[in-house]
């Protein structure tokens, strides 16, 4: 052992590398040639010691030899553990503590991993080591597998999937009481992005085991183990419908509930609020819930989970976190997001949410309290986004809650003393903070989206302006604000609410058009040329609004009827320019980002431009607007011409009749063809018979001719003469028949294609009769 001790002790330098390589070589030789286990063990230990510093050398020279050790010496835990550690050092890309990591470090580990897993037996071998209970074997195996997985995830996943019981063996690690082995990092790596492995892991009772571990470790108060467990759970459930279904059916949602009960004493006992670990755990716990009810899941799946969450009281617990004190802002934000997705589109859950009261004095609905933070500039940006998302989810696909919100804006419902959602939204819409304007406008948009009744109701809203001036309608106030300029975000927000309001609501359109200033304003916006990035969006939206005014115009405003608007657009803006402006909206990257999912995942206020629901509206109407504006003749783009359809219907009917007639025709043809085929066959047989008879007769005649038989010779000579004549006649007829046959077969060939060959068919039967009678006569002749 002296020689390598010297090397390890030697000062750094060129010499060391070369001698290091030499040593590795010598050690390898010793491992492979020594007959004594002790010697081999020493050599492997030495290799292990060198494997960090001389990764390349050890990796290239010792790989096969060490694999051999794993196979041959598996009864000796010590040597196995050294060999596994050596592999770990060679594959691991983590910079070792002592060296100043060489630049090629990271690719090296991957390359060695690739070599190692090329033989899938090696992986199988590693998996069998997991069955060894000895810590010195199991632990380095776990480490090695983890590093292999992180280097070549996809490849290794496929190998493990195929190894019999491969996944099960890894799963058994979860029942190891030694935390360092139970560590879920390995399972996390294993399951990442691989649906089939995720399902097998779930089948092996992973949910139950993991939730038990979380419980044992103190749930959210637990440490890193809980964090890993939660990450693993998320891994198993994200985008995996089958596992989500299993999770729900296995009643695991109910088992999550206790984790969300917040202990008030906890906050009280800790002066500095929540620990970082608890915050992390809580975040993961909330995200887990969101995974189950994500709007991206199949709808029936989400609905079923939402139902369970309401029934088991999880929603209630989440709502009490909303109203609890001492909850860190980011946890609160995530809780709001979670509540949003638990109630989104589920009527009972939305109803429950509407009934939640905040513990304030006097008690206010939770919705109102949340909206207060939304329009409050001082609240954190992400929190305000979360509140808007929550409000949107509360209104999503729920006409009742939509009307509840609009009701609070109407004069009749006004209760002077209490703050209502409507007041907050109107206040937010017209205050000086552009973000508040945006949030409020989008919130209002969601209260009327796809709901014509509420669009009309909203028209009734009047706003009191400064004393002495007459009240102004909400719609007109929006237009006024728009024309006064202001921040881009405000303009976009107002345009979105106006577009959403006017779409599919002709009364709103005519209200809008009745103010003669509005259309000229839009025209001037669309036709102006100067455009920075955001100005382009404003122009595009103005074009869209103009288009909507045209689409849903009931021609009640004389100055701006459908055709008048079309004229204006074509003359003042130009079709090309209009189309261009409209298209640029959908091409904007903010638009694409917003259209992806309903959740607002903005990090910075500047990213707030479009609303998800608005992008849907835009997508739906963009083409119709273009068609209506560019369409020549009738502007009635929305109604497909009735007579046109009638025309096609009759055409279809005609064609169907034709097809039927042709089909019948074809059947007839086929029948005829087969019958004529039969005739031809019969005729062929007859002709053959005739030929045979003819030949026979000839032969008879010849034999009769040479030896003149005794008998009535005189008469026989005449008879022969007569017969010969008849025979000639027969031959002629035969030729005739042959010709006929040829023509028959050609008829047959044409039968399928020919239109009506029935006359020819009829013509053939007398011929046939004729033939038959000839045949009879011939037979008679023969007999005589």
């Amino acid at each position: 052992m002296d020689y390598f001790r010297n090397i390890l002790g030697a000062p750094q330098g060129e010499m060391q590398a070369t001698s290091g390589a030499d040593t590795v070589e010598r050690l390898c030789e010793r491992v492979s040639s020594s007959t004594l286990l002790d010697d081999r063990r020493d050599a492997v230990r030495a290799l292990k010691a060198l494997s960090k510093k001389f990764r390349l050398e050890v990796g290239t020279q010792a790989m096969d030899i060490l694999i051999n050790v794993l196979e041959q010496d598996r009864n000796d835990a010590e040597i196995i553990s050294y060999a596994l550690d050596t592999f770990y050092h060679v594959m691991s890309n983590e910079p070792s503590d002592d060296d100043d990591s060489t630049p090629m470090n990271s690719s090296l580990g991957c390359e060695f991993t690739e070599i190692f897993i090329k033989r899938s037996e090696n992986v199988t071998l590693l998996l069998t080591f997991l069955e060894e209970y000895d810590f010195h074997v199991r632990w380095p195996t776990v480490k090695l597998l983890t590093v292999l997985l992180s280097n070549k995830q996809k490849e290794l996943q496929e190998i493990i999937l195929v190894v019999p019981m491969g996944v099960s063996r890894l799963m058994d690690l979860l029942s190891d009481s030694r935390e360092i082995i139970r560590n879920d990092a390995l399972l996390n790596q294993l399951t990442k992005g691989h649906g089939n492995i995720q399902k097998i892991v779930a089948f092996e009772n992973a949910f139950e085991r993991i939730i038990d571990i979380i419980k044992e470790e103190g749930a959210t108060d637990g440490g890193i183990v809980v964090e890993d467990c939660l990450l693993l759970l998320q891994n198993l459930l994200r985008n995996n419908t089958s596992n989500q279904n299993f999770f729900k059916e296995g009643s695991y949602i109910q088992k999550l509930k206790p984790f969300f009960i917040i202990d008030d004493e906890y906050a009280a006992s800790r002066q500095g609020g929540w620990s970082a670990q608890k915050v992390t755990n809580m975040h993961l716990m909330l995200q887990l819930v969101r995974t189950l009810v994500s709007p991206n899941n199949p709808q029936n799946q989400t609905v079923a989970c939402q139902k369970v969450m309401n029934h088991c009281g999880l929603l209630q617990d989440l709502c009490s976190i909303l109203m609890a004190t001492g909850v860190p802002a980011d946890v609160l934000t995530e809780t709001i997001n979670t509540v949003s997705e638990v109630i989104r589109g589920s009527q009972p859950n939305q109803e429950y949410f509407a009934s939640v009261l905040a513990p304030s004095n006097p008690p206010r609905p939770a919705i109102v309290v949340l909206l207060m933070s939304m329009v409050n500039e001082k609240q954190p940006f992400v929190l305000r986004c979360a509140v808007l998302y929550c409000f949107q989810s509360f209104l999503y696909k729920n006409e009742v809650s939509q009307s509840q919100i609009i009701q609070t804006l109407l004069p009749t419902a006004a209760d002077a003393n209490s703050i209502t959602a409507g007041q907050l939204l109107c206040g937010g819409l017209f205050n000086v903070d552009p973000l508040s304007n945006w949030f409020s406008a989008v919130a209002l948009l969601h209260a009327i989206v796809e709901n014509p009744t509420q669009k009309e109701q909203l028209l009734r809203v009047q706003l009191a302006t400064s004393l002495g001036n007459p009240p102004v309608s909400l719609l007109q106030q929006c237009c006024n604000m728009l024309s006064q300029g202001g921040k881009v975000q405000t303009k976009i927000a107002l345009l979105m609410i106006l577009c959403g309001w006017l779409a599919d609501c002709p009364i709103a359109v005519s209200h809008f058009l009745s103010n003669t200033a509005n259309v000229p304003y839009l025209i001037s916006q669309v036709s102006s040329s100067e455009a920075d990035d955001h100005e382009v969006i404003v122009q595009g939206l103005c074009a869209f609004l103009l288009g909507i005014c045209m689409l849903y115009n009931n021609d009640t405003t004389e100055a701006f009827t459908k055709s008048a608007l079309k004229q204006v657009i074509q003359n003042r803006i130009g079709l090309e320019s209009f189309t261009d402006k409209l298209i640029q909206v959908a091409q904007n990257e903010n638009y694409t980002r917003a259209a992806k999912k309903p959740h607002l995942y903005h990090k910075h206020p500047n990213e707030i431009v479009f609303d998800y629901e608005f992008t849907r509206l835009f997508k739906m109407l963009e083409n119709e607007v273009l068609k209506a504006v560019s369409g020549t003749g009738s502007v009635n783009g929305r109604l497909p011409g009735g007579p046109g359809i009638e025309h096609y219907k009759t055409l279809l009917k005609e064609q169907e009749d034709q097809v039927l007639a042709l089909r019948r025709n074809l059947e007839e043809m086929q029948a005829f063809s087969s019958s004529s085929e039969k005739t031809v066959a019969e005729l062929t047989v007859q002709v053959q018979q005739l030929k045979d008879q003819n030949a026979l007769l000839k032969a008879q005649k010849a034999t009769q001719g040479t030896p003149p038989p005794a008998g009535p010779n005189s008469s026989s000579g005449e008879e022969v003469e007569a017969l010969r004549r008849e025979l000639d006649a027969m031959r002629l007829q035969l030729k005739d028949k042959d010709a006929q046959l040829v023509s028959m077969s050609s008829i047959k060939n044409n039968a399928d294609a020919t239109e009506s060959p029935s006359s020819q068919h009829n013509g053939s039967s007398p011929e046939l009769d004729h033939h038959v009678s000839d045949n009879v006569r011939l037979q008679e002749l023969e007999r005589s």
């Binding site: 553990s81 195929v162 190891d176 009481s177 089948f203 059916e249």
Partner: protein
Amino acid sequence: MSYAYLFKYIIIGDTGVGKSCLLLQFTDKRFQPVHDLTIGVEFGARMITIDGKQIKLQIWDTAGQESFRSITRSYYRGAAGALLVYDITRRDTFNHLTTWLEDARQHSNSNMVIMLIGNKSDLEARREVKKEEGEAFAREHGLIFMETSAKTAANVEEAFINTAKEIYQKIQDGVFDINNEANGIKIGPQHSPTNQGLNVGGSGGNQGGNCC
């Protein structure tokens, strides 16, 4: 949603014999005529009653295609019951039963109850495998047998429930070790006498990997 027992099932058999349709008919009571290839494995569940006891069935419907065989094999070990399905209108699916059975016997626990199912019994006109042949095969290999139609729902309930009855009977007879969840059986929360923890024991210290 409490239950006395929970059984895990798998459904196996050639591709296109109607495994997913059987499951859909059993869990959702509907039939989907379009063949939608199962990728890997899909999960379904339903509650049934046997002997006045609530029994939860968790069913894993596997892909029949050869390329998924290695994946589906992972599910044999943990299942208490298996529905082995063939298509009575396709002789080859019947001929492959032996292979399926060998595979199942090799990878599953020995007590797994296997129900042989001849599916598509509504297509009498196109039948290629006689009912007697199915019965004979089942008798020979010690399976329960039934002909079903996932389309008309004929015998579908019975197939799943009879399998459960068989498992239940085995539990009563003490054949199944109900405390070992690896057998695909679990006792319901209110029935379990003790809550067995995860403690395995052992004292492995934390000194691995520092030898030189």
